[in-house]
Amino acid sequence: MSNFLQVLIDGILSGLLYALVAVGLSLIWGVMDVINFAHGEFLMVAMYICYWMGFILGIDPLFSWIASGIFLFLLGCVTYKVIIKNSLGKAAMAPLLATFGLSMFLKNFCMNRFTPNFRLLSGTIMEGKTFNVGGAIISVPQFVTAIFALVVIILVYWLVKKTRLGWAIQATAMDKEAAELMGIDTENIYLLIFGLGGACVGIAGGLMTSYLAVHPEVGSLFSLISFVVVALGGFGSIPGALFAALLIGLVESFAGFYIAAVVKYVAVFAIYLIVILVRPKGLFGW
């Protein structure tokens, strides 16, 4: 029983982390129809920010996630202004290729600047702390990250669904020209969305620094899983991203433990393929 509970909790905690990483991507994809290929590298940048803040200034990731969230918000805004804005409305693949270029730049910049070394932040407040629930051991850093993920996702959902700004975002996502005719500044909406997407991944990356190693490739697999989460949950759907991420976390955890660890990603991508074949717009897509 405790094995089952442990695997269940591991799956939920992983799923919530995936949801936080993916929610920003989902927003950008859903509202702007732009695939941000640099999403994983944004995560990596956030991790490096918190790593160096911890290593040099002694600021714990429990607090430095604020800095990485703000920095990634700004990076998202700059990416929109400098790269995305200039590629929108041109060739269909232009924004995708532009963000792919950005991802290569960020990865190689970090590789060159910080070397490919794996860096682990030691002596953090939450390091090695665990607590017990019904025989299952829960890692405090993962638990805190999951709580943050849930709070951030609820806030983003509230912003999009319950505020005037959110209605403007939804209107822009549905019909950009009509939204402009209604007086919505779609330019600023796009800017905000890219910033918000960056901030979400910035918070996720910052918190992850307390228990995962930082290196230039760290964003790659998270990025791939984020794409799966977004496509599975439905483009632009925040509840969809949350549900899909939890599903992926649980499938990964249960398949990894009860079938074989090596098949966990096979199971994840198999579920993804089945859902996409049956329902191409994703579980919660419109």
Binding site: P116, E217, A255, G256, A260, Y265
Partner: protein
């Protein structure tokens, strides 16, 4: 007048161009290009870069006059009467297909005389197949898959102990602990990356365990570069083996150790193949979390102080300034292979590949950078003089615990539980 001035300028131009061309041709003629094919990006990039730095350090040892270092070729400048080794670096990213295409590029376009590489056994396999087809030399330092030297290749030479040699040493050590220290180690768990290296290491571990009657109760392969290893470690914990053999590189190794801490579980002993365990950078990041793990090694600063004084001189002069750390067991083996290749070329007296290969196949090469002191290859390319010891890490220092001839530390076992560490 104008015409003669033009003529003088033209003649001078021709002379200059001829001299430049001549000098570059001369320079080109005095250089032996050697490819260094390693994972410079990707999950194993840290180790790959260390390997390249070791090869560059060995090239410096050969190219420059080092009268105070008592190693073959150290006292002279270059080989074959002044030829300098030029290292051409290439990155296979840990991907077998990239390794194959990069090997083709190095041989066909860069015209390298030989390739040294590739760290990952899965990359070494296709890259060395390219070499064999092209009848070019491939020097493999640390890839440990036993299958690499079981192919009957003529142009492939490998320094490292194979997974088979290490597995036998690991189980012999467990037998010794059981007999002499009453350790009570009866069950074994395997955790390994699902690659050429990891799978072969696990195969050899199974054979060795069967030989000594160790019962394998957990067999856990994993995808390298995973976002988490929770399921994998939970699977080990559920079976609670007395001992674990691990085959995980760089970041995966540190994630594995951290996940074991997270789930508050440790076996009595954990012994690792040539993996992240050997990497000082990974251990530095793990700090005390890395303590009490064991692993097979061919080099450590502690071993070097006792048995490899000349290697330490090379390390201090040419390696540490590049890597900002001492040699590790993997990287030094790549440097050794360049040193051995250079000796073979010098003995052959020419850059005729067949002559050099004949020397490599038949001669024994003294090399103070190797723990064994010499290198000799059997048919198939395996170094029969290879030597590996089992070490245990504590405070980022590798103490040797087995074989008893090299022992300098009393082993700590069972491993100190996470909750009882300072």
């Amino acid at each position: 007048m104008k015409g003669s001035r033009r003529l003088v300028i033209l003649i001078m131009l021709v002379v200059c161009v001829t001299m430049m061309a001549g000098s570059s041709a001369f320079a080109a003629a005095k250089v032996i290009k050697i490819g260094a094919l390693f994972p410079l990006t990707g999950p194993a990039a840290v180790s790959g870069q260390n390997c390249v730095n070791a090869v560059l350090a060995a090239a410096d040892l050969i190219n420059k006059k080092n009268a105070d270092i008592d190693l073959p070729l150290a006292a002279q400048e270059g080989i074959l009467g002044g030829y300098k080794i030029e290292i051409v670096q290439a990155d296979h990213q840990g991907k077998p297909d990239v390794a194959k295409s990069e090997a083709e590029r190095l041989y066909n376009q860069e015209k390298v005389f030989a390739i040294i590489g590739c760290y990952n056994s899965s990359a070494t396999k296709p890259a060395s197949a390219v070499a064999e087809r092209a009848k070019k030399i491939f020097m493999c330092g640390c890839s440990s898959s036993a299958a690499l030297t079981e192919r009957g290749y003529n142009y492939f030479f490998r320094h490292a102990p194979t997974d088979a040699i290490e597995s036998n040493e690991f189980v012999d050590y467990i037998a010794y602990l059981n007999k002499e220290k009453n350790a009570g180690i009866k069950t074994l768990g395997l955790i390994y990356e699902n690659t050429e290296f990891g799978k072969h290491a696990a195969d050899e571990a199974r054979k060795a365990a069967k030989r000594t009657g160790l019962d394998i109760v957990a067999d856990v392969p994993f995808n390298n570069g995973a976002t988490n290893l929770n399921s994998e470690v939970q699977a080990l914990k559920a079976k609670n083996p007395d001992a674990v053999f691990g085959a995980a590189l760089g970041g995966d190794y540190s994630l594995w150790v951290r996940t074991m801490k997270q789930v508050n579980w440790l076996p009595k002993i954990a012994i690792n193949y040539c993996t992240g365990y050997q990497n000082p950078a990974v251990q530095k990041e793990l700090g005390h979390d890395g303590d009490f793990f064991m692993g097979g090694m061919g080099y450590s600063p502690e071993l070097a102080k006792k048995f490899m004084a000349e290697a330490m001189k090379v390390e201090k002069r040419y390696y540490t300034p590049r890597s900002n750390q001492p040699f590790d067991s993997d990287s030094i083996q790549e440097g050794i292979m360049l040193h051995v290749l250079a000796q073979a070329i010098e003995k052959a007296g020419s850059l005729d590949t067949e002559k050099v290969v004949k020397i490599l196949r038949t001669e024994e090469f003294p090399c103070g950078m190797a723990l064994s002191g010499t290198v000799k290859f059997a048919p198939g390319g395996q170094n029969i003089k290879t030597l590996s010891v089992i070490t245990q890490i504590k405070d980022q220092k590798y103490g040797t615990v087995f074989p008893l001839k090299y022992k300098d530390t009393e082993p700590v076992f069972p491993m100190v539980p996470w909750g009882k560490r300072n």
